[in-house]
Amino acid sequence: MKAELQRLADRAAVEGLLDVAYARVDSPFGPLLLASTPLGLVKVSLPNYEAEETLEELAARISPRVLEAPARFDDARRQLDLYFEGRLHEFDLPLDWQLSKGFRRRALRAIDRIPYGKTRSYTQIARSAGNERAVRAAGTACGANPIPIVVPCHRVLRSGGALGGYGGGLPMKEALLEMEGVLGADPRERSQT
């Protein structure tokens, strides 16, 4: 049945009927769920989220034509693997921003420009998004980031250098920053620097 389903997804894509394709992808933190539209990657769901809920949300917000199509994610999977090995510093994937609107989208686009191994504060992101005082809203935008890891909201910290929050849990944020060489392995070490 696997071959038939793969063929169905391919034909659906050709006929413009594959509105949301998705695949499960392994990561050092657990399975990720990736989803894309014809425009690009629209959603990365972190391991601590229910895949079923994510798919229902995509069906409701984008289109119920949601199909599993692993072959369409070969490139994304390869780039994520390299990133987790520390060998890829910048993703080259088309993105679909449709799940974020207004200020949040502007904030996320600012976050998307933070280079590998660098961090910004929530205040800086609020300023880039056009409203320096909307620090809390910038934090909310990070929390609501539909495309984490690829849009690197883990690189946004509190002004004092404290970690702030992360949808995938703080240990994951810490591990990502550590991998990018921003943090030492020991949090006490970080507070001293």
Binding site: E4, L5, L8, L55, E56, A60, P64, V66, L67
Partner: protein, 165 residues
């Protein structure tokens, strides 16, 4: 407290199409194999689900998605037979063509006889025995009354008994 948006979505929206495949693809394939034979079932399967995908977002009622899919499959099988001018099904097919599928093998001999039944009887038998559908659902899939579905099924079984001797 406000109802979470996510809950509203899940109560009002159609489920992701993939869940229809996960739950019903095997049954649709079984029905089609019964109706058009193993070789052609694959094409009818593709046509069935592409048609379903095309219509899906506008489907008002998600009450009986299984019956809806089986109705489409039934129509595709009829289209197929029309296009091929009701030729009898090939009885023997090379088993290895389908590859080493993990799916339970149907009794190909009987299904070949089922495939030779008139369309309504064939569909009723396939829906009943390949998919385990109750009469009401067979009727919904065939677009006829439960009594008519029962009759088609009965006629089909009678004929199969005769042919099996």
């Amino acid at each position: 407290m406000a109802v979470p948006q996510r809950l509203i979505h899940s109560l009002t929206a159609l489920p992701p199409f993939q869940s229809l495949l996960d739950e019903h693809a095997a049954d649709v394939m079984a029905v089609l194999r019964g109706a058009v034979g193993r070789t052609d079932a694959e094409d009818c399967f593709q046509e069935t689900f592409l048609a379903a995908l095309r219509a899906y977002p506008k489907l008002g009622d998600d009450g009986n998605l299984r019956g809806w899919l089986l109705t489409i499959a039934h129509r595709k099988a009829i289209d197929h037979h029309r296009a091929n001018g009701r030729r009898p099904l090939p009885i023997a097919e090379p088993e290895d063509l389908a590859g080493a599928t993990a799916e339970p093998e149907l009794d190909e001999g009987i299904w070949a006889l089922v495939g030779a039944l008139p369309p309504k009887q064939r569909a009723a038998v396939a829906l009943r025995y390949a998919c385990d559908l109750p009469h009401a659902e067979i009727a919904a899939a065939l677009g006829c009354s439960p009594a008519a579905a029962r009759r088609s099924l009965h006629e089909g079984i009678k004929r199969l008994r005769r042919e099996l001797g």
